[in-house]
Symmetry: C2
Subunit: 118 residues, 2 copies
DNA sequence: TTCTTATATTCTACTATTGACATATTCCGA
DNA sequence: TCGGAATATGTCAATAGTAGAATATAAGAA
């Protein structure tokens, strides 16, 4: 079996570095295909294909039907990713005090001793 | 050229749904390979390979060198992802009031009109 | 040392992605 | 209606991942 399709969800779409660069660039405002290509040093077909993927997973929207098209980022499409990643946030958060850390580690320790598998 | 390696960074490692499931499971505490396999309905080799990828990108750590090994999640490895995704958070954040939304849209609009490409 | 359990590795087949290049499509203006 | 600019799509070759099954490895116990 092969890898998950890049168009299956935001996780896969965003795994490609160039697509992340495009989204980051679009943070500054709308851009045309050639505008993106020029800024990032990519060819026009490359950008069109990347945008196609991003559009399919709802990470960008297009404005204009003419030869000139403006692409805009749709940050809301990244909310599922943000939600998932945030569940791990406590690990690096410094707002967690000593006692909380201790209790959390104790809990993890106890769990693994009692029922390592499940 | 092919897709980015799954071991190239957290983004690619986490693009695989099964690996996300494994990380989520490990949130509850340490687990053995067979424990993970049983819980998620995967084969043992599958889990070993997924864990290998996760370990290479620093998303999990191992405890024990014997036949029994306990895997633990390292949430800090997801911080770069969290940071990147958070830059788009304002899009869906409800804490942003009307005026702020208006100004932001106005700014984006003005930018695209003046210099669509760059 | 030998057996046993848990885990890691190897091999194969299939599939989808990527970049590069060429070409098709679309709409605006003359 | 026709030409041209901007964008989308198609083809090709190369590459690497995934599942599945079989097998190798490692460490503790007898």
């Amino acid at each position: 079996m092969a890898r998950s399709a890049t168009t299956s969800d935001a996780f896969n779409a965003v795994a490609e570095p160039q697509r992340r660069n495009i989204l980051t660039l679009l943070t500054k405002g709308e851009r045309t295909v050639n505008g993106i290509a020029a800024t990032l040093g990519l060819t026009q077909p490359q950008v069109s294909k990347h945008l196609s993927v991003l559009k399919q997973v709802g990470l960008v929207t297009v404005r204009g039907s003419g030869p000139q098209r403006f692409y805009k980022v749709n940050g809301a499409g990244l909310k599922p990713m943000h939600d998932w990643v945030s569940t791990f946030e406590q690990s690096w958060s410094e707002s967690m005090d000593r006692l909380e850390v201790y209790l959390k580690e104790l809990q993890a320790k106890t769990q693994s001793e009692n029922k390592p598998n499940e």
